[in-house]
Symmetry: C2
Subunit: 122 residues, 2 copies
C-alpha cells in the first residue's frame, strides 16, 4: 500500500470520509451498534449492557441512529411500556468496517500507547 488508492478517503476534500466520521465519531454510537448486533434489545437492557452510558446519551445516540435509518425503534403499547431497538440492514452493514477498526486497534494500540508513554516521561 503506497499511495495507489486512498482516493476514496481523500476524494472531494474528504467529504465522504467526513460524512462517516460525523456519524460514528462520538463516544457511544459504535458501541450501541455493536450491542444491537445481538438482535432486538430493550432500552434498559442496552443501558445495562453499555457500562458508563447515561440515559441521556443513550437516548440521543439511539435517536440519531434512528434518524439515519440505522436502527428501528418499536414501541409496544403496554403498561409498563416496552420499547425495542434493532439494527436495520444498513445498520448491520456497519459492523464489518467497525470490526476492521477494532481489529486494527487490538493489534496496534498496545504499541501505540507504549510509544506515547515512552515519549512522555523522557
Amino acid at each position: 500500500m503506497n499511495g495507489e488508492d486512498t482516493c476514496m478517503i481523500r476524494g472531494d476534500g474528504g467529504r465522504i470520509l467526513r460524512a462517516v466520521l460525523d456519524r460514528i465519531c462520538n463516544k457511544w454510537t459504535l458501541l450501541v451498534v455493536a450491542t444491537l448486533d445481538q438482535g432486538t434489545v430493550r432500552f434498559t437492557d442496552l443501558h445495562r449492557q453499555i457500562p458508563g452510558i447515561s440515559q441521556r446519551m443513550l437516548t440521543l445516540t439511539l435517536r440519531n441512529l434512528e434518524a439515519d435509518g440505522l436502527v428501528t425503534r418499536t414501541v409496544h403499547p403496554e403498561v409498563p411500556p416496552r420499547v425495542e431497538y434493532a439494527l436495520t440492514p444498513t445498520g448491520k452493514s456497519l459492523i464489518p468496517p467497525a470490526l476492521a477498526l477494532a481489529s486494527w486497534a487490538a493489534d496496534h494500540v498496545p504499541e501505540i500507547e507504549a510509544t506515547r508513554a515512552a515519549r512522555e516521561h523522557g
Copy 2:
C-alpha cells in the same frame, strides 16, 4: 452477521474501541494519514493538499501522530528549513481499515442522508 462476534468491539466495556476512536475521531487525522500514504510529504505540501486545514490543526494533528508512532518527522538543517513527514509501518497499517470505513460511507451515506432529510421536513 448476527451478534456472533462483536466482542472485539464491545469487549472490556469498549475500551479497545475507545482507544482507536480517541486517535482517529477528529476532523483531520485520517485525512492526514491518507495524504501521507503517497510517501514523504513536506509541511506546506500537506497544507496545500488538505483543503480547509489550518496551520495550527495540521501541526497538532502531526504532533499527535508522531507521538503515537504513526508518523515520522524529519528536519533537514537547511535554510529555508525543510521538514518531511512520512508514515511508519504502523501508520500505513491504518490505511486498510480506513478504506473499509470510507468504502462503507461511499455505499451507504447517500441513503442515510436521504433518510435523515426525509425525516426532517416531515
